[in-house]
Symmetry: C2
Subunit: 191 residues, 2 copies
């Protein structure tokens, strides 16, 4: 019922929106992306692609190159593109893992989908969560609780870095989008 979660299906669909790929390609691509978002196992990738195919969201073409094992290259269909857009329109659920955001950024590569909304959503989320975190970090703590203090500190540092980057990215994308709800006023939490 919760189709705005980070299911691998939409994840893969987002990648296929960029270009046709095989399951193995997807794995390789994600390995190259490295630490940023994890690499799902083949035991997850292949069934996911079968599912997308069954749903009619992708087509499959068997490509055989001489002296190589045959590859199954999947391409997104119109229906798939519509499904992807529908999914992207849903808000990211609060407290989704960080990779959810990155994946949606990647997926918004297809034309007519501007990533600005995605960026704005992330920004709102961080601004919403920031005060609690900073309050927690400020409240006194025993020296024993060094790990806790570090974790909160780390969270704050990340949040600040993200906000800085998001503002810059939004400013960059605002130039090419007409519906610029940019509000360049300095937010209290940004600094």
């Amino acid at each position: 019922m919760d189709r705005n979660a980070v299911g691998l299906r939409h994840y893969a669909l987002g990648l296929l929106a960029r270009q046709p790929m095989s399951g193995y390609d997807i794995s390789r691509f994600l390995k190259s992306l490295g630490w940023l978002i994890g690499v799902p196992s083949f035991g997850a990738i292949y069934p996911a692609l079968h599912d997308l195919h069954r749903k009619g969201w992708v087509t499959m073409e068997l490509v055989t190159v001489a002296d190589k094992p045959p590859r199954k290259v999947y391409s997104i269909t119109e229906a798939g593109r519509r499904a992807l857009q529908e999914w992207l329109a849903l808000p990211i659920p609060e407290s989704a893992p960080l990779k959810a955001f990155v994946i949606r950024l990647l997926a918004s590569s297809c034309p007519e989908l501007e990533p600005a909304a995605c960026l704005q959503q992330r920004k709102d989320e961080i601004i919403r969560q920031y005060p609690m975190l900073s309050e927690l970090a400020r409240e006194p703590r025993e020296a024993t609780d060094l790990g806790m203090q570090l974790a909160l500190d780390y969270g704050l540092a990340l949040a600040k870095a993200e906000l800085t980057w998001l503002n810059a990215a939004l400013a960059r994308t605002a130039c090419r989008s007409s519906s610029g709800a940019c509000t360049p006023g300095g937010d209290a939490s940004t600094r």
Copy 2:
């Protein structure tokens, strides 16, 4: 077999190492931590606590306050502390989600466990992954692929921010730890 993953059991055990808590407390605490690490559902928390209890890693005490529903407060045992330390000694698997790191930081709150190792590990990991990411980000891309460019950009920004923070945190903790393998030489990737 892979017990260095982020299973909720160790996650909860790490929180109980800080102070005794009930399942509901754990949920509330994580909610307050907000976006940084997600909030597991009760359907996961309670069974996890039962498991820890069965393993002898925690003890349970039924605390009844007048006019309130009774709470089950769990406290970590010596065996639990040993298990936790054992788990923390294992390296974080490559490409574990970001929250794995935060959770281990939190868990290293118990005394005689310095979080420096945890920080160093994270730093090593990022330094290892950084070159691939930055190379990918540099290579030419069509304008259609704005999402991809943004995602890579975002990853790089985060990595930089993390490294900056990690260096600062390591420097701070180095003062109080004797085994300071700090290597204050400026790494190429730090800037």
